[in-house]
C-alpha cells in the first residue's frame, strides 16, 4: 500500500484542486474575515493533518510496547517529526492570518498558547530520545513518553482553550466551521479536498523518511535469507 502510486497521485490532485478552488472559488462575505476565510483550506487543514500524524505516531508507540518490534519505533518517531512540521506550518499560517484580522502575529490567545505547548511537548520528546544511546531503552522510554504526552496534549488543545476567552473562530461567538459560517461552496473544497490532501502529503513525506531511516538496517543484512528478504520487502 505504501509503495503504491495511486494515493500519491490522489494527494497531488487534491492539493491542486485545493489551491485552484481555494483561491478562485466563491466564499461567503463575512465582516472582518473577508477573503482571509480562505485560510481555512490551509491553516485548519494543516492542523487536521498534524492531529492525524500524531495519532498515528501514538498508535505505533503502543504497537511498539506490545510487540517490541524496532520498526514501529522508527514509524512513531518519523510520524512525530511529520506532525511537528505540520504543527509549525499550521502555527505560521495562523499567525499570518492573525496579523491581518486580529492585528498582530502573536496576541497570546489560548489557541496560540495551546499550539506552542503542543510543539514544546513534542520537541521534548525528540530531546528525550537523543539523551539515550541504548537503542532498546530509547525506543521503550520514548514510546512511554509519547503516549503520556499525547494524553496530556488532548486536554491542552481541545478543552482548556474552550474554557478561556479567545478571539479564535469557534469561540465566544466568532465564526468557525459552523453550518452558518461556511457554506456549501467552501465545504466541498475543505472536506474532500484540503483535509485529505494535506494529510496525504504528511503521510507521503513521513513514509519517505521512514524508508530512509530503515535503509541502514537493510544494508546490515546484505545477504538475507529468502525469508528475511521477503520480510524486508514488505516492510
Amino acid at each position: 500500500m505504501i509503495r503504491q502510486k495511486w494515493w500519491k497521485i490522489l494527494c497531488g490532485v487534491l492539493l491542486v484542486y485545493t489551491f485552484i478552488a481555494g483561491f478562485l472559488g466563491g466564499v461567503p462575505a463575512k465582516p472582518i474575515l473577508n477573503e482571509t476565510i480562505r485560510n481555512l483550506y490551509f491553516h485548519v487543514a494543516m492542523w487536521f493533518a498534524m492531529m492525524v500524524l500524531f495519532i498515528v505516531s501514538v498508535i505505533y508507540s503502543i504497537r511498539y510496547l506490545r510487540t517490541n518490534n524496532h520498526k514501529y519505533d522508527i514509524y512513531a518517531l518519523e510520524y512525530t517529526k511529520g506532525g511537528i512540521v505540520f504543527g509549525l506550518l499550521g502555527f505560521t499560517t495562523g499567525s499570518i492570518w492573525a496579523r491581518w484580522t486580529w492585528g498582530a502575529f502573536w496576541s497570546s490567545d489560548p489557541k496560540q498558547l495551546g499550539a506552542v505547548i503542543a510543539l514544546l511537548i513534542y520537541l521534548a520528546y525528540l530531546v528525550l530520545r537523543n539523551s539515550m544511546t541504548d537503542m532498546d531503552k530509547r525506543a521503550r522510554i520514548g514510546a512511554v513518553y509519547n503516549i503520556f504526552a499525547f494524553a496530556m496534549l488532548m486536554p491542552t488543545i481541545w478543552i482548556i482553550p474552550r474554557l478561556m476567552e479567545s478571539l479564535h473562530p469557534g469561540g465566544m461567538g466568532n465564526p468557525a466551521l459552523d453550518t452558518h459560517d461556511i457554506d456549501a461552496r467552501m465545504r466541498v473544497v475543505f472536506w474532500p479536498g484540503a483535509v485529505p490532501g494535506w494529510t496525504l502529503l504528511g503521510v507521503w513525506i513521513t513514509t519517505l523518511r521512514i524508508r530512509l531511516a530503515l535503509l541502514p538496517e537493510r544494508r546490515e543484512s546484505l545477504h538475507p535469507t529468502p525469508n528475511q528478504a521477503r520480510k524486508l520487502r514488505n516492510a
Binding site: 521534548a124 503520556f148 496530556m152 474554557l163
Partner: protein, 232 residues
C-alpha cells in the same frame, strides 16, 4: 520473567495494598531518618522566598500569585526528582523482586503527593509571612494549593521515573515537565483567582473538574505505562 521467583505478586490482591503501604512506609522512614529532602527543600524554599522579599518587598496580588505557582513548580522538581534518582540500580532490582510495578509507582505517587502537600502549606505560610497577604479568601487558597501540590507531584513523579530510567539528571525532568505542566498551571492560576478576588467567576466548577480529571488520568496512565519503564 514468568518465573514465580522474579515476578512480583499479582496486583489487585490484598497483598497489593500491603505492599504499597510497606513501600510508602519505607520512603517515609528513610525521610524521617535521613531528614534530607524535607530540610533541604525547606531551606531552598525559605531562601528563595527571602530573596524575592529582598528584591520586591510585598508585591501586588497578580505577581504574588504568579510567583507562588512558579515557586511550587520548582519545589516540586526539587522534591520529587529525588524519589527515583536516589534509588540505585541494585535497589530497584531488589524492589522488582519483592513488589509489582503498580505497587511501586502507587507508593511513590502517594508519598510525593503527601510531601508536596506539606511543602505547599509550608511555602504558603512563608509567602504570607514575607511577601504579605493579598488574599481576601485565604482559606480557599489553602485548599487550592493542596490540590495544586498534588497535581504537580503526580506529573513530576511519572516524569522522574522516565528521567531516572533514561539515567539522566533533574535537568531532563525539567525539559520534559515544563511544557507538560503548563495546562495544569494555567488551570490552577485561573482557579486561584477566587481566593484573590471577591467576585465569583464563572466556569470555576468546570475548571476544577477538568483539573481533577487530569489528575485521575495521570494516575491511570502511570499505572498503565510504568510497568514498561520498569522492566529492563
Amino acid at each position: 520473567m514468568n518465573s514465580p521467583y522474579i515476578c512480583g505478586p499479582k496486583p489487585g490482591s490484598i497483598s497489593s495494598a500491603k505492599h504499597i503501604l510497606t513501600l510508602f512506609r519505607k520512603d517515609l522512614l528513610l525521610e524521617i531518618r535521613q531528614q534530607y529532602t524535607f530540610y533541604g527543600v525547606l531551606l531552598y524554599v525559605a531562601s528563595t522566598i527571602f530573596v524575592l522579599y529582598l528584591s520586591m518587598g510585598e508585591p501586588e496580588s497578580t505577581v504574588w500569585k504568579g510567583l507562588f505557582w512558579m515557586m511550587q513548580l520548582f519545589i516540586c522538581i526539587n522534591a520529587v526528582a529525588k524519589s527515583f534518582l536516589q534509588e540505585g540500580k541494585g535497589r530497584l532490582l531488589y524492589f522488582y523482586t519483592i513488589a509489582g510495578p503498580k505497587d511501586f509507582i502507587l507508593s511513590k505517587l502517594l508519598f510525593n503527593a503527601l510531601l508536596m502537600i506539606l511543602m505547599s502549606l509550608v511555602s504558603l505560610g512563608l509567602f504570607v509571612l514575607m511577601l504579605g497577604d493579598p488574599m481576601p479568601n485565604p482559606l480557599s487558597f489553602v485548599a487550592i494549593s493542596c490540590l495544586g501540590g498534588i497535581s504537580l507531584s503526580l506529573v513530576f513523579t511519572f516524569l522522574a521515573a522516565i528521567a531516572a530510567r533514561a539515567q539522566q539528571n533533574a535537568a531532563l525532568m525539567a525539559i520534559l515537565g515544563f511544557p507538560l505542566i503548563i495546562p495544569q498551571l494555567l488551570l490552577l492560576s485561573r482557579i486561584s483567582n477566587i481566593a484573590f478576588e471577591d467576585v465569583i467567576q464563572g466556569g470555576l466548577a468546570t475548571m476544577s473538574a477538568v483539573l481533577l480529571g487530569l489528575d485521575l488520568m495521570i494516575i491511570a496512565l502511570s499505572l498503565i505505562l510504568f510497568p514498561f519503564l520498569w522492566k529492563d
